[in-house]
């Protein structure tokens, strides 16, 4: 039998594809997610520049509860303030409540989750029991309880929502950590002698990012709804603030009289939450993390 001669490949056997580009290409295929991202971007612009046509505190007692008209596109509220302006200005507040709350929850939850997942043992049991207990009080009730202790108001709403977000993140990140921990490349790094800290920071944490990003996005929606629900039950933002939930909560007293006060903030919340959820879906499909 004749020997086959060895030779190196003559063609380009290797092509660098930027992972970001690949992600972008996949993501752009998800139309609903792209539209949602656009909408969220639009909200962020609103939040930053606040292009409100009227001063949100300008009262006009002769013009209260007027229906949407050419002057006030979304009508006026019980003080004669422009609803559209309040919604636009409220974007910053409503978004920042959600962003802060979710960020805090994600931060604490991820740390707990990664520690629980990586170290296991008693520490894990303790952390997970703690989460179970937090979980065994239905989310909103927990927030209500927390607000009851520390009092209503925006800051406290943020605290409450972040606390009840913790177990969600802890679970997601833990299970993600657990599965990554089992991967061969982690074992490979351990066999090299990489320290725990480096392993956690360099190898495991980046691996949990897809799960973290997706959960984060999804939680944004939940946080906005929770904040609104707290307002509805009277535990939320003070109505002096143009918070959407607070507006909705006030608006419901005028349900038969001035439906626009209930409708527009409601739609705003709805579309924003929907956008975050659809974006989350899109990201999940693209990043493909294993969530449980």
């Amino acid at each position: 039998m004749e020997e086959v001669k060895m030779q190196e490949a003559k063609y380009e056997d290797f092509k660098i594809e930027n992972p970001m580009k690949e992600f972008a290409r996949k993501f752009l295929k998800k139309k609903s997610a792209v539209v949602s991202l656009g909408f969220i971007f639009f909200l962020v612009i609103l939040a930053i520049f606040q292009p409100a046509p009227y001063d949100i505190d300008e009262t006009d007692y002769d013009n209260i509860l007027s229906e949407p008209n050419s002057e006030h596109l979304f009508g006026t509220d019980e003080y004669g303030r422009d609803v559209l302006s309040r919604i636009i200005t409220g974007t910053r507040l409503s978004l920042s409540v959600a962003v802060t709350a979710v960020t805090i929850g994600a931060f604490l939850g991820s740390i707990l989750g990664i520690i629980a997942g990586y170290y296991g043992g008693l520490l894990e049991s303790l952390i997970m029991r703690f989460c179970d207990i937090l979980f065994s009080f239905p989310g909103l009730l927990l927030a209500i309880g927390i607000v009851a202790i520390i009092g209503p108001g925006l800051t406290n709403v943020v605290i409450a929502i972040s606390i009840y977000g913790i177990p969600t993140f802890t679970r997601v990140i833990r299970s993600s950590t657990l599965s990554i921990k089992e991967l061969l490349y982690i074992e490979a790094s351990r066999s090299i002698g990489v320290s725990d800290t480096r392993l956690l920071v360099k190898h495991i944490f980046p691996g949990t990012l897809p799960a973290l990003i997706v959960t984060y996005t999804m939680r944004m929606g939940t946080a906005i709804i929770s904040a609104a629900s707290l307002s509805f039950l009277g535990f939320g933002a003070s109505p002096t603030n143009p918070d959407w939930g607070a507006m909705l909560s006030t608006g419901r007293d005028y349900i038969g009289v001035a439906p626009h006060m209930l409708l527009y903030p409601g739609l705003m919340i709805f579309f924003t939450v929907l956008a975050f959820n659809l974006l989350g879906d899109g990201l999940r499909d693209t990043l493909d993390p294993k969530l449980d």
């Binding site: 207990i133 009080f137 009730l141 202790i149 509805f232 419901r252 209930l262 959820n277």
Partner: protein, 306 residues
């Protein structure tokens, strides 16, 4: 399996003790003096003092906790501070509406959620998938109370199909359970869909097609059975959502249920009721988790026969 259930049941005891301590601390962390709230705005200091003494609120926390636990062990859960009635007399009539509401909601959500999820999964990428999934996402994007109020305006006030509020007949539960179930349906639908999509890629689905089975059987017998195993766990998780949502729905539809009772009792600082309701919630949650685990085991032969 019996052994397992037994072990899990025994496990409940330490959990409940820890939870009871947490609940107790939680309750006493809340500012607000129940004696003053109960006595009312116009009460005199003397009245309030007598009240505090009677309620044992002047005792050290340790003693109060001890009494609370002793009470539980001897079956005396105390009287509602608000109404003066024994706690269970206050709570038991409130359980039924919440339970009915929860069962109605979960049943229709499971049926609707799974069907929607399956339809969507087998039509993946088509228009119907798109519509259904955006619809499902809408389900979780609606503030519950908003949905409830809107439904009431349309179906009770305008159309007069269902009673506006109350629990007088089963038809009273229709709108509340739709409201409460909307989010859960959406959640189950999304989960079923993604689980189905994963499962439809599995080798054994290819095998069943290679056997010549019709698509209907492949989906409903082979794929769905497997995805149900996953869906069970997610349904279990929804119970937490259900309880939280019931607070809002009960408020909107004036349903005298546990959720509403809890909120009112927290506001009134009706400690005895609050702690009992919270203990019930926790217990319920643990039991539901146990049931879900057992169901999961039953549905999943891998676990059943280990």
């Amino acid at each position: 399996m019996k052994q397992y259930v037994l072990k899990r049941l025994l496990n409940i005891i330490p959990i409940m003790i820890v939870v009871s301590i947490i609940i107790f601390m939680f309750i006493h962390l809340i500012p607000g003096d129940p004696a003053r709230i109960i006595a009312g705005q116009k009460a005199t200091l003397e009245e309030i003092e007598i009240m505090r003494e009677q309620l044992g609120l002047n005792d050290p926390y340790i003693v109060q906790y001890k009494n609370f636990m002793l009470g539980i062990l001897t079956g005396d859960w105390g009287n509602s501070l608000k109404t003066g009635l024994p706690v269970w007399e206050v709570i038991i009539p409130r359980m039924k509406p919440t339970l009915i509401l929860a069962i109605f909601s979960i049943v229709w959500s499971v049926i609707a959620g799974i069907s929607i999820g399956v339809i969507s999964a087998i039509n993946r990428g088509k228009l119907i998938d798109y519509i259904v999934m955006v619809g499902a996402s809408s389900g979780i994007s609606l503030p519950l109370f908003w949905l409830g109020l809107m439904l009431m305006q349309i179906f009770s006030v305008k159309l007069g199909w269902f009673p506006t509020t109350g629990i007088d007949s089963l038809s009273s539960y229709v709108l509340p359970s739709i409201t409460l179930g909307a989010g859960i349906t959406a959640m189950i639908a999304r989960y079923t869909r993604s689980s189905m999509i994963e499962i439809l890629k599995e080798n054994y689905i290819r095998t069943s097609r290679a056997k010549g089975l019709s698509e209907f059987i492949v989906i409903n017998k082979h794929a769905l059975r497997n995805s149900l195993v996953d869906v069970i766990t997610i349904v279990g998780l929804q119970f937490g959502f259900l309880l939280a949502g019931s607070v809002l729905v009960e408020t909107v539809f004036a349903i005298p249920g546990l959720g509403r009772l809890l909120i009112d009792s927290i506001l009134f600082r009706d400690y005895t009721v609050v702690q009992t309701v919270l203990l019930i919630f926790t217990f319920q949650f643990i039991i539901i988790n146990l049931i879900v685990d057992v169901l999961y085991g039953v549905a999943n032969p891998k676990i059943r026969y280990q």
